[in-house]
């Protein structure tokens, strides 16, 4: 399940590129938000001293961000909205980086204005949008659904810019827009709310042709309520708002393009240009200077209603007061904005973002004045910052995953990783470097060496291989076995800049073959689908940057076809197995069909025909599509790993079918893994980074049944399972789908035929679990397990799992809060301290997630100085933790199954206990959200009304689920005291405590509690090394055997209390969801439980297999 997935980003030394296309400062002046061409948003912390520091990167858009705007009354909800080039819109919570709402509409917005009229409007208000479509679109700020539009009766055209005018004088809000053709239009806003809500057409009240093109900004002077500033790219003009008569035109000098402007005070305006300069002008009144006779007209504010608007005409002229500039050598265009102070400590700030990713701030003085001699004063830059500055400043935490190894190799600098691939089945990370070497390492070890402090034992141990064969930077990697089990497990392919593709044996480190393609850098390596075979073999498809496609036959070590006719970059590769065609879709929407056997170009089609060809391929057979920069999509869809997500992007005809087919396969064959590495690369650069994914749920599952496996894993496991089912009935179907998708690497996600045997790595329980969840797949299950048995399973590396768990705990622990506690953790849990605060990732839904940037910990303004450099997610954590400890009953400490067992057993027990606790918290905090978004608002309303009741339900679930977990530790009774804890946690979710905060708080409290109890015991045991772990675990299993009877009894006892919550929740979810038929599930489960009973002997044999492995 996705919610149990925790991500940790391992940044490299280079910051990911962030070419700013949109920038805004939130109303509280605490956060700067930027949108980039790469599609990410960045949240920057702005301190009270106007210091900038990057905090978080938000992933969610798959195309360039076009505009940003406020999406709520900011003091109530800190929400902003972003729109992308491809019509995606997201509403984000700026404080925690979560995506609140997401929609894709067939409109490209270039500007958005938030409008809310509290006394006439229900709901959250409107987003008034304009862009590459006619007129103004009204979008609901909460649901992102189109409400209606403002129509123009005259010359409907695209709208370039707009502003909302709140006029105190006439008590009416108006919308002012300028179209691309230069037509100014005015709509009544507040008085047309009703008509809009009734879907009546509202036409403009006034319109006027402004006689200039490329309007950039229109602003109303709220100080005088009289002037209108309109900035065009080549000039700026001031109009009289009363009759739209032109008062002033100022044409740009020396080829500058104006980009925007703002009225900063009465008669004082700020204009900025596309190359980052800005100018403050005072609008002076000629008549006022001519003499006292015209005193009556001296200030426009004083003469709000002059008799004749024309009196004003030609009477004002601009006087340059101040200017700001940036240093030379800047990339443009700049996007700039101006923010006025609203309350006391706030500033007047002019801000700009550059394509290079730099943010610059100028503090504009309250009263800008020119120099004494009348020449303009230069306002200095107040602050400037880039993402890279963050990375440089916090370089200890910004090393790439393999920096340590490359450092070993040669002392001189670290190699830049240009491509990487993770093999989940071997837990190996392959990194291709810029200097042509390929490093293969154990991913978990590499992550540990990178993240954890000191522990020389960690650093010495990881064996890594260095493959040398390329002379140029390695641009792409492929592990064919990950895609099709039929291919040799030792094969690995790598392609470099000189279009040399090498086939390696990764075990012997030999070069099996070198293909020289002479076609420029290899942009991607792909494999034909299972169905498509040539000479009994699947073939490799190699896309090069000269837009050619080469087909390689691995067995035959030959190049079958080199298709070189494409004029545009290859976007899509499809295979036609029946006729042996290779269908290549290019970026210009043309299609090339190649006959593979003869190597001839069969057809070339463009336009409508091409579209049809690509479409009909989709449903006729399994297809694979590729993007030369598939990495870009990985960026966005990465964490969720929707199985074919790396391949659907932008104008793909209909990826739906494709997704479905591959989903099914993956669903049946893949199991979640507790640990995963996701390589991420960004567009337009070779900078990459890695994301570690921990699947908490899976980790708990893997650890938990182990002690019980020889007893009766199915029933007790099911106990928990039943509950989990009950809880998740509403989301059941999707859950399984996603669950199985969550943790597969990018490679495996795409693999359509990963061998069943591979999945055995998870142990039988997992298979059982995922299968069981999805009732329909039940029959397959038997087949699967049959297939499983004859093959020797890859051992469940228990020590690997426990290592993963330890690393995970290390990542979450608030190191540095309490030195004594740190020491105890290191000593008793045998986990290592972090080198620095980690960059955590947070997924808010399927497509959106946020990643902390190095140095994020310094951004928490409420964090005192003592806690800088501490892995504390927020100040809140400590309070939460205290609360939790207070509720924690004294007698319930960390369960220790045996009073006098050895330390390491206790250690692993503790870890399991902690993890299960964390999982529980995670589940509790996450669940209502999921329920809410699935079942809809009606349910949530109900929830709110019957808070007590639903909370009660949850707690019942949880407590019995919890008791199940406890069972594993030989504690049978449902701890009554825990109810209060669970209540507390479910309280947190109502207080919108973040999952990570809750998890860390609970972890801290539990550890404190545990260590307190430990502190009394004299510490006499030495730290146990990792290697001993396995031994201890085996010991751990032995005593468990003796408990068999006792446990069975407990299980029987358990079943009774279990029933109640199940039925309760069932009732609940049934009434709320029409989609999922829970009734069907009941028999399913029964059958399953029966069918699982023969599983018992299997467990024995499985253990027999595992145990010797561990001892050895």
């Amino acid at each position: 399940m996705r919610t149990s997935l925790q991500a940790v980003a391992l940044w490299g030394q280079k910051a990911p590129p962030h070419s700013i296309t949109a920038i805004m400062i939130t109303d509280d002046q605490r956060t700067i938000v930027t949108g980039s061409q790469e599609g990410q948003l960045c949240l920057w912390n702005l301190s009270r001293e106007l210091k900038i520091s990057a905090k978080e990167l938000l992933f969610g858009h798959s195309a360039s961000v076009t505009c940003l705007a406020r999406a709520r009354d900011f003091s109530k909800q800190p929400y902003i909205v972003s729109a992308a080039e491809n019509g995606e819109m997201c509403v984000w919570n700026v404080t925690n980086g979560q995506c609140v709402e997401k929609a894709t509409l067939p409109y490209r917005h270039t500007a958005i204005c938030y409008y809310h009229c509290s006394f006439r409007m229900t709901g959250e208000g409107w987003l008034l949008c304009c862009g590459e479509y006619q007129d103004v679109l009204i979008i609901d700020a909460k649901t992102l659904a189109v409400v209606h539009s403002f129509r123009s009766s005259q010359f409907p055209d695209w709208i370039n810019c707009m502003c909302i005018v709140h006029s105190m004088r006439i008590q009416e809000d108006s919308l002012l827009v300028v179209s691309v053709a230069g037509e100014l239009k005015v709509w009544d806003l507040s008085s047309s709310i009703n008509s809009i809500q009734e879907k009546q057409d509202v036409y403009e009240k006034e319109s006027k042709f402004l006689e200039s093109l490329n309007c950039q900004t229109i602003r109303f002077c709220t100080y005088t309520e009289r002037l209108l500033l309109v900035v065009f790219s080549k000039c700026w003009k001031v109009y009289d708002y009363c009759d739209f008569s032109l008062l002033l035109t100022e044409v740009s000098r020396n080829g500058q393009f104006f980009a925007g402007g703002e009225v900063i005070a009465a008669h004082r305006i700020l204009i900025w240009t596309e190359d980052g300069h800005s100018y403050i002008y005072q609008l002076l009144n000629r008549w006022a200077q001519m003499g006292a006779a015209y005193k009556t007209f001296s200030g426009l504010s004083k003469s709000i209603y002059p008799a004749d608007g024309r009196v004003l005409k030609e009477t004002i002229y601009p006087h340059l007061l101040c200017s700001t500039s940036v240093q030379e050598n800047k990339s443009h265009p700049f996007v700039m904005g101006y923010m006025n102070e609203r309350k006391e400590p706030f500033y007047k700030v002019l801000f700009s973002g550059e394509v290079s990713g730099r943010i610059t701030l100028w503090h504009i003085p309250d009263v800008p004045v020119s120099k004494f001699d009348g020449s303009p004063r230069d306002i200095p830059v107040t602050a400037t910052w880039t993402l890279q500055d963050n990375f440089d400043k916090h370089d200890t935490v910004s090393q790439s995953i393999i920096d340590y190894f490359s450092g070993l190799k040669d002392g001189a600098g670290t190699a830049v990783v240009t491509s990487s691939e993770y093999i989940p089945s071997l837990d190996k990370l392959i990194c291709g470097c810029e200097d042509g070497t390929i490093i293969i390492t154990q991913a978990l070890n590499a992550a540990k060496a990178r993240l954890l402090e000191g522990g020389s034992l960690v650093k010495d141990s990881p064996p890594h291989k260095v493959l040398k064969g390329h002379h140029q930077s390695v641009t792409s990697l492929l592990y064919p076995h990950g895609l099709s089990s039929k291919l040799d497990q030792s094969w690995m392919l790598s392609g470099d800049l000189e279009s040399c593709v090498i086939l390696w044996d990764i075990f012997t480190e030999e070069i099996l073959h070198k293909f020289f393609l002479e076609a420029g850098p290899v942009t991607s390596l792909l494999m034909s689908p299972e169905k498509f075979k040539l000479r009994g073999e699947q073939i490799i498809c190699c896309v090069c940057s000269d837009h050619s496609v080469a087909l390689l036959h691995l067995e035959g070590k030959s190049c079958l076809l080199h298709a070189r006719k494409h004029l545009f970059p290859v976007r899509m590769i499809k295979w036609h197995p029946v006729e042996n065609f290779l269908i290549v879709g290019c970026a210009d929407d043309s299609v090339y069909i190649w006959e593979i056997e003869t190597g001839t170009l069969e057809r070339h089609e463009t336009g409508e025909r091409a579209r049809i060809i690509l479409n009909c391929c989709d449903d006729s057979q399994l297809v694979k599509s590729v993007f030369p920069i598939a990495s870009e999509t990985l960026n966005h869809k990465g964490v969720e790993q929707r199985s074919s997500s790396p391949y659907q992007l932008g104008p793909l005809p209909c990826p739906g079918l494709q997704v479905e087919s591959s989903c099914k396969v993956t669903d049946a064959k893949f199991c979640p893994r507790p640990f995963n590495v996701l390589p991420v690369k960004t567009k337009w650069s070779n900078v990459g980074f890695h994301i570690l994914l921990f699947d908490l749920e899976n980790l708990v599952e893997l650890l938990l049944p182990t002690p019980l496996s020889d007893v009766d894993s199915s029933s007790s496991f099911y106990g928990g399972e039943v509950l989990r089912r009950a809880k998740s009935t509403v989301e059941k179907k999707t859950l399984t789908l996603r669950k199985s998708k969550t943790a597969c690497g990018p490679l495996s996600a795409e693999a359509l035929a990963k061998p069943v045997t591979e999945s055995l790595a998870q142990g039988d329980n997992t298979i059982k679990f995922s299968e069981e969840n999805d009732g329909i797949k039940r029959q397959k299950k038997m087949k699967v397990s049959k297939k499983l048995q004859p093959k020797p399973s890859r051992k469940v590396d228990a020590s690997l799992t426990i290592d993963t768990a330890k690393l995970f705990l290390s990542c979450l622990l608030p190191w540095g809060v309490d030195k004594a506690l740190d020491y105890l953790c290191i000593k008793h849990l045998n986990i290592l301290k972090l080198q620095g605060p980690i960059s955590l990732g947070l997924a808010s839904n399927e497509d959106n997630f946020s990643l902390m940037l190095p140095g994020w910990d310094l951004c928490n303004t409420e964090m005192t100085k003592d806690y800088s450099g501490v892995n504390l997610f927020s100040r809140k954590v400590l309070d939460l933790s205290d609360k939790y400890t207070a509720t924690l009953p004294n007698q319930v400490g960390i369960p220790r199954g045996l009073e006098n067992n050895c330390d390491s057993l206790q250690e692993s027990n503790t870890i399991v206990y902690l993890l299960s606790r964390l999982f529980l918290v995670n589940k509790l905090v996450n669940m209502p959200l999921e329920l809410a978004c699935r079942v809809g608002s009606s349910f949530r309303m109900e929830c709110v009304h019957n808070k007590v009741r639903s909370a009660g339900n949850d707690i019942l679930n949880m407590s019995s689920f919890y008791s199940c977990l406890r069972n594993g530790k030989n504690e049978s009774q449902v701890p009554e005291a825990d109810l209060s804890l669970l209540k507390l946690i479910s309280c947190w979710r109502d207080q919108s405590v973040q999952v990570t905060e809750a998890i860390q708080a609970v972890l801290l409290a539990e550890i404190q509690q545990h260590m307190k109890s430990l502190g009394e015991i004299p510490v006499n045991s030495q730290p146990v090394s990792m290697a001993e772990n396995g031994n201890c675990e085996m010991k751990q299993m032995l005593p468990k055997l003796e408990w068999t009877e006792e446990l069975e009894l407990q299980c029987i006892r358990n079943t009774l209390p279990l029933q109640t919550p199940v039925s309760l929740v069932k009732h609940d979810s049934n009434s709320n969801s029409a989609n999922f038929q829970d009734v069907e599930d009941m028999p399913d489960r029964c059958v399953l439980e029966e069918s699982e009973s023969p599983g018992e002997p299997r467990h024995h044999s499985w253990i027999a297999k595992v145990c010797p492995c561990k001892v050895s």
């Binding site: 590129p17 070419s19 061409q37 080039e85 590459e132 006619q134 409907p156 055209d157 695209w158 691309v180 053709a181 230069g182 006689e211 093109l213 490329n214 790219s233 080829g255 393009f257 596309e274 050598n329 990339s331 443009h332 265009p333 394509v355 830049v416 240009t418 810029e434 002379h471 140029q472 930077s473 800049l497 000189e498 420029g520 850098p521 940057s545 000269d546 837009h547 004029l567 545009f568 970059p569 970026a587 210009d588 929407d589 336009g607 409508e608 337009w684 650069s685 070779n686």
Partner: protein, 294 residues
Amino acid sequence: MATVMAATAAERVVLEEEFRWLLHDEVHAVLKQLQDILKEASLRFTLPGSGTEGPAKQENFILGSCGTDQVKGVLTLQGDALSQADVNLKMPRNNQLLHFAFREDKQWKLQQIQDARNHVSQAIYLLTSRDQSYQFKTGAEVLKLMDAVMLQLTRARNRLTTPATLTLPEIAASGLTRMFAPALPSDLLVNVYINLNKLCLTVYQLHALQPNSTKNFRPAGGAVLHSLGAMLDPLTAHSEWGSQRLEVSHVHKVECVIPWLNDALVYFTVSLQLCQQLKDKISVFSSYWSYRPF
């Protein structure tokens, strides 16, 4: 190995020199060429306010089909708007001649032409903002500019090559049906769109499905050109049909090539290729110093 490195070091100097030339000279030359082509293309769209003062000139197009002469249309195009339309329809059954024309005071915006025109002017704006005086520092900058320009050009082209797919009720509800002076009879639907370089007019004749008809009723989805027998739900716009379901009984499609649209499409294709070639040139160099953002 050492000699290889030395050779590449010498090579590098030359390459960097070449790359500098590419960034400073060649890129601007291509941008200039692109601007010229696109300006030429935008002239075809007669951008308002771009030098040509006064109302855009009117062009008459006589639409017909080679097969039959049942429908004839004379459409007058003024920039991106249809200012006049005369449609003559010979009823197939009784050979009765029907004539419809636009109301004098109304114009019908051809959204496709307007969008294409706006996309082109956006592309031109992007190009003019980097004139000769602008110095490109990195190849990535050029690539990004080219991507932005190509996005606009592709959209401009797609706007013309892919007419909107509308359902029959959508056609009925569109403002176009209300444009005609003697109001269109309720059994006629009219749609005007651009397909590639052609101005197309389709006239659908409807008749009510017999209530006891054995045909399975399946409302037609969206399409550019609906085929004979496409069915639709009763139209709310025309109340006289009551609740009867309708079927298309005749489809007439007439079209006429707009020569300047043809030119514009050619210009789009040429400029797209120019953009891609420039991108390719830049990326050739990227291979040599991948370690820095080229």
